[in-house]
């Protein structure tokens, strides 16, 4: 009896964390599902049950589909640059002989990841600016003045411009992690390969790539999950414009709920986002559960 009581009292250690996570993370998630079945005007406060109407509306909403497409494009480009590009770059850096230079390069590339997306977004807002922006200035100076344009101001280039900024901001983070993973590979493996006359490309594809596979899988998942949660950079640089061309799920959710006053519809978008991120999270569990690479 006393032992049971003592064990139960031990729960005091986990209660604060459980309560906070339960009330502010899990409860809202459940409520969101309920909200997504309501027709709900924030200002009048009127709510009525609408069944799956919000989801039906979502299916027929072209902006929703283009937002989803933009998130997918974001994901593809980020995986190319921040997973495969970063892995190659990390391998190049680790190939540099001087350790001090290695450290300096890793630190330089990481700096954009330490500054906030707001600062980075504003900075690139100015860089892309048609008149004072250095990008157009540089193009004109290089005799490519015909290419100078309002990068964020037109539908054809705005999304690509935002994604490009994102790559600038994020590649140093994954490069740093890949560098750590590569450092964990014992030097003897590379040494043996060098003696066998395996060239740099061979070492990369036959040693580095297979031995950092686990990190590659994890980075792919982290990047994928991040790409579907994009919000800040779009909000700061274009707020979804021009003409909704840079809308992503996060900003469309925000706009539907907080600007157009339809909480129910916003909740339905949130459900879609939840299903996608949960899918990615399950994939993450699956990757981490697999046996770790031994060396």
């Amino acid at each position: 009896m006393r032992a049971t009581l003592r064990r139960t009292l031990g729960l005091a250690w986990v209660v604060p964390a459980l309560v906070l996570v339960g009330v502010f993370v899990y409860l809202p998630l459940v409520q969101n599902l309920q909200f997504s079945t309501l027709k709900w005007d924030i200002y009048s406060g009127e709510q009525e049950y609408a069944g799956l109407d919000n989801y039906a509306k979502l299916a027929g909403d072209p902006v929703f589909w283009s937002s989803l497409g933009n998130n997918a494009l974001y994901a593809v480009v980020s995986i190319v640059f921040q997973v495969f590009g970063a892995l190659l770059l990390a391998a190049l850096i680790e190939g540099v002989r001087s350790e001090r230079l290695q450290r300096a390069l890793r630190a330089i590339y990481f700096i954009p990841s330490a500054i906030s997306l707001t600062v980075a977004g504003l900075l690139f807002y100015f860089i892309y600016e048609p008149n004072l922006g250095p990008l157009n200035h540089a193009l004109r100076a290089a005799g490519l003045g015909d290419l100078a344009q309002a990068w964020l101001g037109q539908e054809s280039t705005a999304m690509s411009a935002i994604i490009a900024m994102s790559q600038w901001q994020g590649f140093g983070y994954s490069t740093l992690l890949f560098a750590v993973a590569i450092q964990r590979i014992p030097a003897e493996i590379y040494g043996a390969a060098a003696i066998d006359g395996v060239g740099a490309a061979g070492r990369f594809f036959r040693i580095t790539v297979p031995l950092v596979r686990e990190m590659t899988g994890l980075m792919a998942i982290v990047t994928l999950s991040g790409a579907f949660q994009v919000f800040n950079e779009v909000m700061v640089m274009t707020a979804g414009g021009p003409d909704n061309s840079t809308q992503v799920l996060g900003t469309w959710l925000y706009r539907s709920g907080f600007v157009r006053n339809n909480f129910g519809y916003a909740a339905a978008i949130a459900t879609v986002l939840f299903v996608i991120t949960l899918g990615v999270a399950v994939a993450q569990l699956w990757v981490t559960r697999r046996r770790r690479v031994e060396w």
Partner: protein
């Protein structure tokens, strides 16, 4: 090991260095440009974006400071400090319970706390706004403190728990023999032993809180408790014609975390590698 310098090898090395250096320029130039613009006048900025400022005075920095940045900075520092202390303490507390105390349903509780990692903040946005309005905390400092703490507990607990699991059991037995209670064992013995991971989690939490935008924007808009990321966008919309002041504000916002990164680089790398690699 003797490396033969073949012609092709030399070419490859030259290309590699050219690429690495070009990339460093691409990363550093925008940041340098941002910093220099904080010293320019509007006319200079519009004239030649690549020119150096004529007058290296801190006037724009002072203006930015007086036009609200001091307030945003104060809020950011307060939210960052309080939520870091709360998050790391509550997470270490839970990690201790999950790893070193005999409690019922241990596996389920662990899954419940760490499972929060999977949920994106955006998904919970609408209900959270209603919840904070109902609690009367909407548009207050408390909303940010609570949200940053609650949403970062899963990740922080995950890192600290992984570290505590590996601490030897003998430590606890020795503490018990000395007659130390649970609290003493946690506070005086286990926590000091966890210093490396605590340092990483503190640094990671600061990086997160300082830069967070989604919650900060939705839960504090226009209320005088804005943090730097949100404050900068207000600075931009209010004084958007005085660009150098905006640049000065951006530098003030970026500098502390860049410095922190350089000071704590080793720990941040370790925290990130452990957190994602486990």
């Amino acid at each position: 090991m003797v490396t033969r310098l073949s012609f092709l090898g030399v070419i490859a090395r030259v290309f590699m260095w050219a690429f690495l250096l070009a990339l460093a320029v691409v990363v550093l130039y925008p940041l340098l440009w941002m910093t220099l613009n904080g010293f320019k006048t509007n006319a200079e900025l519009f004239g030649d974006p690549f020119a150096l400022p004529l007058d290296w005075s801190f006037g724009n920095y002072a203006k930015a400071w007086n036009r609200g940045v001091s307030g945003y900075l104060t809020t950011s520092v307060l939210v960052t400090v309080t939520s870091t202390v709360a998050t790391v303490f509550i997470s270490a507390w839970a990690a201790y319970g999950l790893t070193r105390v005999d409690i019922p349903l241990n596996r389920t509780l662990t899954a419940a706390i760490l499972g929060g990692l999977m949920l994106a903040p955006t998904v919970a946005l609408v209900p959270l706004v209603k919840l904070f309005q109902a609690m009367g905390l909407y548009n207050t400092f408390w909303a940010l403190l609570i949200l940053y703490t609650a949403f970062r507990i899963p990740f922080t607990t995950f890192l600290i728990r992984a570290y505590m699991i590996d601490l030897p059991r003998e430590v606890d037995e020795a503490a018990e023999m000395d007659g130390a209670g649970r609290w003493t064992a946690f506070w005086r013995i286990i926590l000091p032993m966890c210093k490396p991971i605590l340092t990483s989690t503190v640094l990671l939490h600061i990086l997160f809180t300082w830069n967070e935008y989604l919650f900060a924007m939705i839960f504090t808009s226009g209320s005088g408790v804005q943090t730097l990321p949100v404050g900068l966008t207000s600075l931009m919309s209010k004084h958007g014609t005085d660009y150098p002041v905006v640049f000065a504000g951006m530098v003030i916002a970026a500098l502390p975390v860049v410095l922190l990164f350089f000071l704590g680089q080793r720990h941040i790398v370790k925290g990130l590698a452990d957190g994602i690699g486990k």
